[in-house]
Symmetry: C2
Subunit: 252 residues, 2 copies
C-alpha cells in the first residue's frame, strides 16, 4: 500500500476518514503512524495528495488538512484481453494490471479455461483487487473490467470495433518475436513518414492466454480479425510473470 | 511443471525413474498420465527430451525409452543482484528469475531489508525453488545463486570485477527512463561503428531493490562503481512484478 485511497463520500471540507479494516490495519501495523503524522492518500477517481492524522480509534481514523493537488498518472492506452486464469492467481493478476496502469481489462473464456473458474467467488471481489492495485501503483482511476464468457461471438462480432490500433496475441508458438514485430512497425511508420517512437508503435490491445496458452483454432479466429501472434522466446512463464514481462514494454 | 527434471543419478541406459513426491503427484493428479503415456522430461544440467511411463506405484514411476536430444535454451547473459526480499515472495522470485533464464542471481543485503529475512528457513530451500523454475521455464541448467550479507564491502571490493559489461540499478527515482538509457547505448554503439542490436546493448547486470527500493547512499555507492540508475516510470510495482517487467526486456 503506497497510498491510501478513499471514496469521494468520505471527504468533507478539509477532512476525511478511513474506516476500511485493511487500511486501518496498514496505518497501525505497517506504517506505525500516530496522531500528527502525515499520510499519502488519494480520492478514488480523483487526485493524490496527503493528510494529517487527527484521531485514531480501532474502527476509524480521522484525517485533517487534506491536500489533494497531484493528478493521477496517465493510463496506458492498452486493453488486455486475458483468458480467465485460475482463481488463485486472479487477485495478483488484477492487482498487477491495475498497478501497471492498464485502461481496459477483458476477462475472456478460452478452450483451456476450466468452466469452474467462472463460478469462483473471487470474481465478485474484483473491485477489492483493483483497490489493492491502485494503492500499490499510486493511482486513483480504476481500469474498466468486463467479462466475456463466450470467446467466438466476442472475437467475431465485437472485437473489430474495439481494436483502435494494432492488436497482438501472445502465443509461445507465434511465428514472430515481439521485438521483430516492433521493428516491423517501426519500419512501416518510417515508410509512411509518420512518428515511429517506441510508444507510438506499441499495440493498443494484447491477448494473453492462461496456463497452457491458446489453441490453434483460437489463434486462427484472432488472426482473422487482424491480431498478430507474437512470442517472447521459448521459455514458458507463469501467467503472472508473462503478463508483467510483456506489459513491461509499456512502462519503459 | 512444463517438464519433469530428474537428477543424472536416476538415469541408467534407456531408463530413469521419478521418486520425488511433488513430481509423482504432478504426473498422477495434474497430467493424469498412465502407463504407456509419454512425458516431457529433462536431465538436470543435461538435455531435454521425452520418456514413456512403464510402471506407476505411489512412491515410484519407472520411465523407459528415454530420449534426450534437445539442448536446453541458452541462459541470459545477465546477473541480477536482488535485495533480499520478504521470505513470502522469495519462492516466486527465484522461480521466475530461473524460468526467465537468468545466469547469476546474487541476493544482497540492503538498508530496507529486514535483518530477520536472513534467518528465514526459506533460504535453505533455494534449490527446490530453482527446480520449480526450471520445470516451469523448460530448462535444465540452474542459475548460480550467491548470498551477500554485506552491501558495502561487496559493492566496493567485489563489484568492479563482476561487471563484464554495463550495469544498471532499477530505482524509481533514477534520473533516466530505461528506454532512454537503451537509446543512449544504441547511439554510443553507432558512434563506435559496432553492433547495436537490442541484445548487444542490454546491460549484463541489474540491481533490483526490495519493497521500498534503495536508499540514496546505496545508489551513490553503486553509481561510483559505474552503475547507471534507471527507472520504469512513476508507478510502483510489487517486487515480483517489477522483476518480470524489467527482465522482460531480455526476452523480447
Amino acid at each position: 500500500m503506497n497510498c491510501i485511497l478513499l471514496p469521494a463520500a468520505n471527504f468533507s471540507n478539509q477532512s476525511t476518514h478511513i474506516n476500511a479494516k485493511a487500511q486501518i490495519e496498514h496505518v497501525n501495523q505497517v506504517l506505525g503512524a500516530k496522531v500528527g503524522d502525515t499520510l499519502k492518500i488519494g480520492q478514488l477517481e480523483g487526485n493524490l495528495g496527503s493528510a494529517i492524522i487527527a484521531d485514531i480509534t480501532p474502527e476509524h481514523i480521522l484525517l485533517i488538512d487534506v491536500n489533494l493537488t497531484t493528478a493521477p498518472p496517465p493510463k496506458l492506452n492498452l486493453t488486455v484481453v486475458l483468458a480467465l486464469p485460475r482463481p488463485k492467481v486472479l487477485r495478483r493478476l488484477i492487482m498487477d494490471m491495475t498497478a501497471l496502469g492498464v485502461r481496459d481489462i477483458i476477462l475472456i473464456n478460452s478452450y483451456r479455461t476450466q468452466k469452474s473458474y467462472w463460478q469462483s467467488p473471487m470474481l465478485s471481489r474484483l473491485e477489492e483487487f483493483v483497490l489493492e492495485g491502485l494503492q500499490q501503483g499510486v493511482d486513483t482511476v480504476a481500469p474498466r473490467i468486463s467479462l466475456q464468457k463466450r470467446f467466438k461471438p466476442f472475437v467475431e462480432d465485437e472485437l473489430a470495433q474495439l481494436i483502435t490500433n494494432r492488436a497482438i496475441v501472445a502465443h509461445p508458438y507465434g511465428e514472430l518475436l515481439f521485438s521483430k514485430y516492433m521493428q516491423q512497425q517501426h519500419l512501416q511508420k518510417q515508410l509512411e513518414n509518420s512518428e515511429s517512437s517506441h510508444s507510438s508503435i506499441l499495440p493498443s490491445m494484447v491477448f494473453i492466454g492462461a496456463e497452457g496458452g491458446w489453441i490453434d483454432y483460437e489463434i486462427e479466429l484472432l488472426t482473422k480479425q487482424g491480431c498478430q501472434a507474437v512470442h517472447i522466446g521459448e521459455r514458458i512463464l507463469r501467467t503472472e510473470a508473462a503478463v508483467n514481462a510483456i506489459l513491461g514494454q509499456w512502462l519503459i
